[in-house]
């Protein structure tokens, strides 16, 4: 927007430039509805009987269950991101080279599951992975021994379900970065005598790494905070941290513990962002395809 709109004494009302009215509105909105409750959460987690205390954290982290849930959550989100990266990378290299209607069609094929309710996507997998589900029937039909497999209400189910839900994020991030790779560089490397594999290894792969890293960070952070899939597909022993927060609110009514868990989650996520943005830059993380 041009400076003309922002300048001129005639445009000032009540001491506030009209252009900044919108900005103040946004600031007020976020302060009241987001920053204020966040501050309350912090205060709730740091006080006992009106006094400053780290007791809530000490008790929470003193319990082996909490530590286990935290480790389990980190392990699951990293595993899911790794699976997403391995499945998506080869597909994205092909997808990024498409153009015209083929590219549009493929993008729609990613966008559609991406926008579908995560509850719906989790529900489908609960049916497909059941003991008499289509996956077990297919394995039996193919003569794979040892079936029917228990693919549901355990860690395997959670990892499969979450990988399915988060795969589109990885694909979009990878395709975004691969589309920006200048084909002239690849042609130049070829014309200098490199084999296609050498071109891939020395030019294409390094140039696509930022997109891969961004996708990995995004899926890991989303996976870390995930609720729906682990809550519906996990067994009693595979609780993730978001479930623990929900449990503190809906079952045990321990608001201070829920607040402390939320603060721990923010700290973990902020650390992940800080580490990632040292190499990637934050804007790149938030908008992998721009």
């Amino acid at each position: 927007m041009p400076s003309e709109l922002a300048s001129g004494p005639a445009r000032r009302i009540g001491g506030l430039s009209r252009d900044y009215l919108g900005m103040w509105l946004v600031l007020a909105f976020l302060s009241l509805f987001f920053l204020y409750p966040l501050a309350r959460i912090l205060v709730l987690s740091l006080s006992e009987e009106g006094q400053f205390s780290l007791g809530v954290y000490a008790r929470l982290l003193g319990e082996p269950t909490t530590r286990e849930v935290l480790l389990q959550t980190i392990r699951t989100s990293l595993t899911v991101s790794l699976i997403c990266a391995l499945v998506a990378y080869p597909a994205a290299t092909r997808l990024a080279s498409l153009s015209g209607w083929q590219a549009t069609l493929c993008n729609l094929a990613i966008l559609f599951p991406f926008l579908t309710s995560s509850l719906v996507r989790t529900f489908v997998f609960i049916v497909l992975l059941g003991r008499r589900g289509i996956v077990n029937q297919a394995l039996e039909f193919l003569g794979v021994p040892g079936g029917p497999y228990k693919l549901l209400f355990n860690q395997v189910g959670v990892v499969i379900g979450m990988s399915y839900v988060l795969l589109p994020y990885m694909l979009l991030s990878l395709v975004g970065s691969m589309k920006r790779i200048d084909p002239a560089l690849l042609r130049a490397a070829r014309s200098l005598g490199a084999s296609p594999f050498t071109v891939f290894r020395t030019v294409y792969l390094p140039l696509s790494l930022p997109g891969l890293a961004a996708g990995f960070v995004i899926t890991t952070i989303l996976g870390f905070g995930y609720f729906v899939t682990p809550a519906l597909m996990g067994g009693p022993g595979d609780m993730m941290i978001a479930q623990l927060v929900e449990q503190q609110i809906s079952v045990t009514y321990n608001l201070a513990a829920a607040a402390a868990l939320a603060v721990i989650m923010i700290v973990v996520v902020a650390a992940a962002y800080a580490v990632a943005s040292r190499w990637l830059g934050l804007s790149r993380l938030m908008r992998p395809d721009s």
Partner: protein, 270 residues
């Protein structure tokens, strides 16, 4: 991709892409047969097919009420997120480099923390305002999740409007309101519509805030689906899923048409 690959490799590569896209799409297609179950259990391929559960859902006041609440909160959430997102985007685009980065950070913050944190924040807010179980506070919480998305989409579009266009409008005597309604608004309309649609979807699909704020009389569709999958797992969930997916299908196609039209208009103006 890289020149000089063998034809066989390229075929294999394309095949793999189709395999992955199939992996993404086929489970959603599997919803359709699931919804035609003649019994109370959900199976991937029922025999014989029966529309029984469609009747059950259509005549169930619970599902209808849940859908009503979801439509109401998602509509409000989308309106709040799109309006606030527009102001935020305009401020980011207009502000100096320093203010812009800080404001952008703040606007994106609800998306950077895990959703359960936003849900807990809304719960704490509702409790401290004495509005627990009020649909409006639910809509506000859901709008927080959509706000970053709306701001990013609209900011991208506002950056694309060249300053000279607005200068021309002002120099020809346009008032601020005229410049907005006759230049900026039409030029960013497709982004505003996209933002409105996406924030609606985000709010419509939101589960945790709705779970935290739910009361027996305020249950949104995701809460109803969640409880149904958790405790009953009847084919009614498959029916609802099919309906939601069909709606989304229509939305995606409509959005694609809007984007194409916007691109064509832009191309024609050049």
């Amino acid at each position: 991709m890289i020149e000089g690959e063998s034809r066989g490799f390229r075929r294999l590569h394309t095949g793999y892409l189709i395999f992955v896209l199939g992996l993404l799409l086929l489970p959603l297609l599997a919803l359709l047969p699931m919804s035609f179950s003649p019994t109370a259990t959900v199976v991937a391929w029922p025999a014989p097919w029966s529309a029984r559960w469609y009747d059950a859902v259509a005549s169930s006041p619970e599902w209808r009420r849940a859908l009503g609440w979801s439509l109401l909160t998602a509509t409000f959430a989308s309106a709040i997120a799109t309006t606030t997102g527009y102001f935020g985007a305009a401020a980011i685009v207009r502000a100096g480099a320093r203010g812009s980065a800080a404001l952008q950070m703040l606007l994106l913050s609800p998306m950077m923390v895990p959703q359960v944190v936003v849900a807990l924040a809304t719960y704490v807010l509702a409790t401290s305002l004495g509005l627990h179980g009020h649909w409006l506070i639910l809509a506000v919480g859901q709008s927080l999740l959509g706000l970053p998305v709306a701001a990013m989409i609209i900011a991208a579009s506002l950056r694309g409007i060249h300053e000279s266009v607005i200068r021309a409008g002002i120099s020809l005597g346009g008032s601020r309101a005229q410049v907005f309604w006759r230049i900026v608004f039409p030029m960013s309309l497709h982004a505003i519509l996209s933002a409105a649609a996406l924030t609606f979807l985000i709010a419509f699909d939101e589960l945790l805030i709705a779970v935290f704020l739910a009361t027996p009389s305020l249950q949104t569709l995701p809460v109803r689906i969640y409880e149904s999958v958790h405790y009953e797992l009847t084919p009614a969930v498959a029916v609802i899923s099919v309906l939601l997916t069909a709606l989304l299908c229509a939305g995606v196609v409509l959005n694609q048409i809007v984007q194409w039209t916007a691109a064509r208009l832009k191309g024609g103006a050049r």
